[in-house]
Symmetry: C2
Subunit: 333 residues, 2 copies
C-alpha cells in the first residue's frame, strides 16, 4: 500500500488539520469528536443542515461545509460510519433555534448512528428531521445497505437544500425539499480498479485487467455485473439508461447531469462520459439545463465514474444557482 499518509491512525485527523489550515475562513474543525463546521455556526434563525459518513469520499462531506450548503459534516474513519456523539455534537453546534436537518446516506451504520444522534438532539430540546438519500439504481440490499445506496445524489441534495436553508425556510420546508430531491435523483457508477482502505492495507476487491464492475458502490460494494472492458460510450450507456428509466424521464424534462470521478479517473475521461450522457438525453428530448463534472464523491483512489441525473423544476434550478462558498463548490461569491 502506497499512500501519502503518516499513519493509518492519524490519517483522518491530519487531513482535517490540513483542511482547517487551508479553509479557516470558511470552516473550523472540532477534533473530539471530529466535526467540521461553519465558522459562523450557529446561524440564528436558520435551519442547520448537517451530514456525515465515512471518510475517503472527499470532498464529500467536509468540502461542502460553508455558506449556502452544509453547516457541519461528521467524518468517520475511512469507509466507516461516524459515531452518534459526532452527529450529536454537530446538531448542538449548528442549532440556531430553527431546528436541524440530518442528511443521511442509506448505509445501515449511518442510519443507526444518525438516528441515535437525532434522539439525543431531541432530548436536548432541538427539533431534528432526518432525510435518507438512496439514489443508486444499481442494486437493492447490498453490502452495508438495506434498500438502495446513497451516492451522487447526496451532493446535489446538500447544495439545493443548503440554499433553501440559507434563504431562511423553516425545517419542514427544508426537509420536504430534501425528500423531493431524493425522489427526483438517480445514480449509477462503475469501477475500473479497486481502492485500498488504509486500515486494510490491500485492495478491497480484485478486478481483472480487462474487467469493469458495473453498479459499484462507493465503498467498493459489488454492483450488478462484472463485464469485459468496453468503450466509454457503451459503458456510459450502461450507467445512464437505467438512471433515465428509473427516473421516468420524458421529453421536455429539464435535468442536471452530474458526472463524477470515483477518485482516480482523469477529468478528460469524465468529459468523454458527459458528452455521451448529453447525447442520450438529447435523443429523448430531455434538456440538460445544469451540469457538474468532477471528483465530488469519491472512493479514495478508485478509478471509475458515476452518472447522476436530477430532474429539475424552477425551485431546484434557482436553488442550485444560488451562491455557495465551500472548499469544493463555489459560485456567486
Amino acid at each position: 500500500m502506497k499512500k501519502l499518509i503518516n499513519s493509518v491512525d492519524d490519517f483522518v485527523k491530519e487531513s482535517l488539520e490540513g483542511m482547517q489550515k487551508a479553509h479557516g475562513d470558511l470552516l473550523d474543525v472540532n477534533y473530539d469528536p471530529f466535526v467540521v463546521f461553519r465558522t459562523d455556526a450557529p446561524v440564528q434563525g436558520k435551519v442547520g443542515v448537517i451530514s456525515g459518513g465515512g471518510s475517503g469520499h472527499e470532498p464529500m462531506h467536509g468540502g461542502f461545509v460553508g455558506k449556502g450548503m452544509l453547516d457541519a459534516a461528521c467524518p468517520g474513519e475511512v469507509f466507516t460510519s461516524p459515531t452518534p456523539d459526532q452527529m450529536e455534537w454537530a446538531t448542538r453546534k449548528v442549532d440556531g433555534g430553527a431546528g436541524v436537518l440530518h442528511i443521511v446516506k442509506n448505509y445501515s451504520g449511518d442510519i443507526m448512528n444518525f438516528e441515535m444522534a437525532a434522539d439525543l438532539g431531541k432530548d436536548a430540546g432541538i427539533e431534528v428531521e432526518s432525510v435518507v438519500v438512496d439514489d443508486d439504481v444499481a442494486v437493492k440490499d447490498s453490502l452495508y445497505t438495506q434498500g438502495r445506496r446513497g451516492v451522487g445524489g447526496t451532493v446535489l441534495m446538500e447544495k439545493i437544500v443548503g440554499a433553501k436553508a440559507e434563504e431562511g425556510a423553516d425545517l419542514a420546508s427544508v426537509a420536504g425539499l430534501a425528500r423531493d430531491v431524493n425522489a427526483n435523483v438517480r445514480s449509477m457508477g462503475l469501477a475500473l480498479t479497486s481502492c485500498t482502505v488504509p486500515a486494510a492495507g490491500s485492495p478491497t476487491f480484485e478486478l481483472g485487467d480487462d474487467e469493469v464492475e458495473i453498479g459499484i458502490g462507493i465503498h467498493g460494494e459489488p454492483g450488478r455485473e462484472r463485464i469485459k472492458m468496453e468503450g466509454a460510450d457503451q459503458l456510459t450507456d450502461r450507467l445512464t439508461r437505467p438512471v433515465i428509466e428509473d427516473l421516468g424521464l420524458n421529453s421536455g424534462d429539464q435535468v442536471l447531469v452530474f458526472v463524477n470521478s470515483m477518485g482516480g479517473t482523469p477529468l478528460a475521461e469524465l468529459y468523454v462520459i458527459y458528452r455521451r450522457v448529453v447525447q442520450l438525453l438529447d435523443e429523448g428530448g430531455v434538456q440538460v439545463a445544469r451540469h457538474l463534472v468532477g471528483p465530488l464523491i469519491t472512493s479514495l483512489e478508485m478509478q471509475g465514474a458515476s452518472v447522476t441525473i436530477l430532474r429539475l423544476d424552477d425551485e431546484k434550478t434557482r436553488l442550485w444557482d444560488a451562491p455557495v462558498h465551500t472548499p469544493a463548490l463555489r459560485w456567486g461569491v
Copy 2:
C-alpha cells in the same frame, strides 16, 4: 490499459466535445485545429492570453479558459506538444488589438512550436510576447527539456496574469508580470505510480510496490531519485525544502501554497501534505496568505503530488483574488 475512452484517436476530440457541452456559457471549441477559446473572444482592447501543451494534464489548460484567466488554450494529443497552427489560430482569434501573450511551459516541443506560431502571428501584424515557465526545481535538462521544466507555477501564472490582462494592462506590463511570477515561483513533485498514455498502451515507467520517484515530471520524466516509501511528512519535506531554498524564502515573506494531485491521489491525502507544508513554512516565519489544493495540473491517473510555492506581493495577491470564471477555477462571480 483500462480507460474510459472510445478510441485512442478520438480521445482528445471527444473530451473537448464534452467540455464544450458542459461549459458552453464560458468557452467554445474549434476542432480544426483544436483550440478552446472564450466565447467573447476577441475582447477589444484587452491583451489576449493563451497557453497550450499536451493533453492529459486537465484541467490545465482548457479548464482555465474564461473571464479573468486564459482567452484560449491549445491542446495537443496526450503528452504531445500542440502544433504551431493551433497557436497561430488561437493568436488570431484572441487578438483584440492589444497584442497576445503566449504562456509556454519549458518543453522543447512547446518552445519550438509556440515560437513558430509567434512568428506567424507577428507576420500577420499581431504583437506577440512569449513567456516561458520553468519552475520545477527537481532537475535540469531532463527528458524533453533544456533547463528546468514548467509545472505547477503555470497554473498560478495563468490566474494572476489573466487578471492583469482583464484589468486592461498593456502587453508589456502583462508580459513583465508573467516573468515576475516565474521568478517567484518554484515547484517539485513526486509519483507513487506511473500513468499510461493511451497511444502507448502500457505504463510510462515502472515503480516498485515500495518505491517513490522524487522530482517526477508531469509526463513521467525521471526525477532526482527513486527512494523507498516514507511517511507523508518526510516525503513532503523532500519536496518543500528544495522549493523553499531555491526560492530563498525569508521570515516575513508572504506566499501562496499550491498542493496539487498528479491525478490519482485522493484529496484527503493532499490535505495531509498541505498541513505539513504550512508547518514547515511556519517554522521559518513565512506566512501562508493564499492557498490552492486540488488536481489542477495532472498526469492522467498518476498517483502523486506536487508542491508549488509563490512569493506574493500586494499586486500578485490582489490579482489572485480578482474574479475568475473558468471551468476549474471560479470565485468572485
